[in-house]
């Protein structure tokens, strides 16, 4: 990450309970979630979270239910207040904000998409899409124009007059996305936005999101419990367990170098050939004794390469990006990468 992060979370703790503040020290001294619950009756939500979220990138926070991911995302726009720590957005600590500035942040800077859509059931689709504009006090025409524009963009141009309950789940979430986009905020928070949808619809929605992202370059914080989804969308992947980060980094890197048995378990089930890209398994450029079968793109998936080579492990490819050589791919490396690796310290695992 070269540029300054747009959101920076530092040392964030969240403890649920009547006397959370006093329990911070216990947790900082290493008391675990179960022990805290048993001996003090407080629930540990988040423990020492540090994340830098880069502008214009998709940061995916992944974890199973109860891992604290939905709690974490709600700290960004302070739907939940932390027990300790900092959330810095555009260089300002949002925890110091008073109500007015917080409201301005929610209206202008961050929009949110929800797992259960959370559309206003008594308003039409068009009114829902333009809601963020109306909340800001902009007039009816602007709200409808912006709402309508984004409804068109997510493919619901003709449904503006309907009510949310008349739409299917996938269509409702499109409205949810249009509503978030219509606010024109640079940051979009997506809380398990696609988890409630059928697998096929979910794939459609992921494609829609990537397509929009290519065009708009929003800063997206995406929460999911689905690793395939996480790998598909993430520029930066954060894996949470029991309220703590166990690994974060580039998804390809995490896949090849899992830092923890927990992550190994996670990644063992996915289709690595489809997810891994050539650039992640290639070697630096060299020419000694190789007979190149062709040139491939660094972002090609291993699956496409297997298809290209016809399964011949003796093949060797030159890897290029925009015509510049960036490496060499030996099919034997590729095959090796398809088998989950054991984590080892020498891989330079990035774990915080």
């Amino acid at each position: 990450m070269t540029q300054d992060p747009i959101i920076s979370i530092k040392g964030l703790y969240k403890i649920f309970g009547p006397d959370a503040k006093s329990k911070i020290a216990l947790v900082q001294n290493g008391m675990g979630k179960d022990e805290l619950l048993e001996t003090h009756g407080h629930v540990l939500g988040l423990r020492d979270i540090d994340i830098d979220i880069a502008q214009g990138k998709v940061t995916v926070i992944m974890g199973l239910s109860g891992s604290g991911k939905s709690t974490l995302i709600r700290h960004l726009n302070r739907l939940i207040d932390p027990t300790a720590g900092e959330v810095v957005v555009n260089g300002e600590d949002v925890l110091q904000y008073d109500e007015t500035r917080l409201r301005a942040l929610r209206q202008q800077t961050m929009s949110m998409v929800f797992q259960k859509f959370a559309l206003l059931p008594h308003r039409t689709v068009l009114e829902n899409a333009g809601m963020s504009r109306r909340v800001r006090g902009e007039d009816q025409d602007t709200a409808d124009a912006e709402g309508g524009k984004w409804l068109d963009r997510v493919g619901l141009g003709g449904n503006g007059g309907q009510y949310p309950h008349q739409l299917s789940g996938g269509m409702q979430q499109r409205v949810g996305i249009a509503r978030a986009l219509a606010s024109d905020s640079p940051i979009m928070l997506m809380d398990e936005a696609f988890s409630a949808l059928d697998p096929l619809i979910r794939t459609d929605m992921q494609d829609l999101l990537l397509e929009l992202q290519n065009e708009l370059h929003k800063t997206i914080v995406f929460i999911t419990h689905d690793l395939d989804e996480a790998l598909k969308l993430a520029d930066h992947l954060v894996i949470l367990k029991d309220g703590a980060i166990i690994q974060q980094g580039e998804p390809q890197h995490i896949l090849l170098n899992p830092a923890d048995p927990y992550i190994e378990d996670f990644v063992s089930d996915i289709n690595r050939a489809r997810v891994l890209r050539v650039r992640s398994v290639m070697q630096p450029p060299h020419t000694n004794g190789f007979d190149f079968s062709g040139t491939v793109d660094g972002n090609a998936t291993l699956e496409s390469l297997i298809e290209l080579s016809g399964g011949d492990t003796n093949c060797c490819y030159k890897v290029a990006d925009d015509g510049i050589d960036i490496g060499v791919l030996d099919m034997k490396d590729l095959v090796r990468a398809l088998v989950p690796a054991r984590p080892s310290s020498e891989n330079g695992v990035e774990a915080r």
């Binding site: 726009n77 409201r103 929610r106 209206q107 929800f114 206003l120 008594h122 928070l189």
Partner: protein, 350 residues
């Protein structure tokens, strides 16, 4: 003599008892006891009280043994006197505050009474059509009122309707804000619920007793207050409940997009609670109708007066027909508000 004599003797309070002896009028029980020759004052020895008939140490029983103890009758007298003592200052405050209620009730009555039947009935029909969009219901309303007119109960029915109209309006105007306040503050809810419970369970006649002392019986606000106190409960409760039941996810979304409290209340919470609020209004109307008969004891006009006449003069027919009239009115109002309610529901929810 009396059962608890011994108690006061052992406590050494005999002198205090006798010093406090005030006499006062006898109770009926004492009178009967003297009449039948049992009891001390004739000089005849009182038989020892069997153990199983041990009297409860109530005020009256203790008074028998020790005249310094007040009797229950004196206690209720005390309550009465206390009420009478605060009555005048209370009246100074309450009278002006509640005066608009009298005006509203009188005004509404005179409007409903002066508008001729051939205008009022179509007007009501139009209102029902606007609220329910149901031809059947409109026909039912028209036929009902023509029936009231035909059996010469039209004016009574219209008077009852007028009272309910005013009281329901006031119940909504006061109850909805109260319910909103309750939904926003747990402390407020904790404080209000016992009051609402009390209003709902207090026997209806009991409302009337202090009101009769406070206001003159000829004032309409007397029955207006009684009806409102009794009927306001459901609309308050259901407004509170309705707002608290609004989907938490939707509220969170409203927060996440930076809605102000006011935007959230009027743009999200109240509209989504509307089906529940309307159900509360329906119940409020039904309860004010129930109270109308009792209110006729204190000069409320309408069908209740006829029911009362039926009871007082044993005019069976008059009582039954007007009772049926009230039922008809109740069914009518219930159907119309329910139809309006279901129309709201359809336009909102899956």
């Amino acid at each position: 003599m009396a059962f608890y004599d011994g108690l006061f003797e052992t406590l050494g309070l005999r002198e205090w008892c006798d010093a406090g002896s005030s006499g006062g009028p006898m109770t009926m029980a004492q009178l009967l006891a003297r009449k039948s020759g049992v009891g001390g004052e004739d000089g005849a020895p009182a038989p020892a009280t069997p153990f199983l008939q041990t009297p409860f140490p109530s005020l009256d029983a203790l008074n028998e043994a020790c005249p310094a103890v007040t009797r229950t009758r004196d206690m209720t007298d005390g309550v009465e006197n206390a009420f009478l003592a605060i009555k005048d200052p209370l009246k100074v405050v309450l009278d002006p505050i509640t005066q608009p209620l009298s005006w509203a009730l009188n005004g509404s009555l005179s409007v409903f009474e002066t508008v001729p039947w051939f205008i009022l009935i179509p007007l009501l029909a139009a209102l029902v059509w606007y609220a329910s969009r149901s031809i059947g219901l409109v026909a039912f309303v028209i036929v009902s009122f023509l029936f009231f007119g035909f059996i010469d109960h039209y004016i009574y029915a219209v008077q009852t309707l007028s009272i309910i109209f005013v009281c329901t309006l006031i119940c909504v105007a006061l109850g909805v804000p109260l319910g909103i306040a309750m939904s926003r503050s747990d402390a407020m809810q904790r404080g209000m619920i016992p009051v609402l419970d009390m209003l709902q369970t207090l026997p209806t006649f009991v409302y009337l007793i202090p009101l009769i002392f406070l206001f003159s019986v000829t004032e309409p606000k007397l029955y207006g207050i009684a009806i409102i106190l009794y009927a306001i409960v459901p609309v308050v409760r259901l407004t509170d409940l309705g707002i608290r039941l609004v989907d938490k996810d939707v509220i969170e979304a409203a927060d996440a997009f930076g809605m102000t409290d006011r935007q959230k209340l009027w743009g999200v919470q109240v509209p989504l609670a509307l089906p529940n609020i309307m159900a509360g209004v329906n119940q409020t109307i039904m309860m004010s109708l129930a109270m109308v008969v009792i209110a006729s004891l204190v000069s409320a006009p309408g069908l209740g007066v006829l029911v009362l006449r039926g009871i007082r003069n044993l005019e069976l027919g008059v009582g039954l027909v007007s009772g049926f009239g009230i039922v008809l009115l109740a069914v009518l109002l219930d159907r119309v508000t329910k139809a309006a309610l279901s129309r709201i529901n359809v336009s909102q929810r899956a």
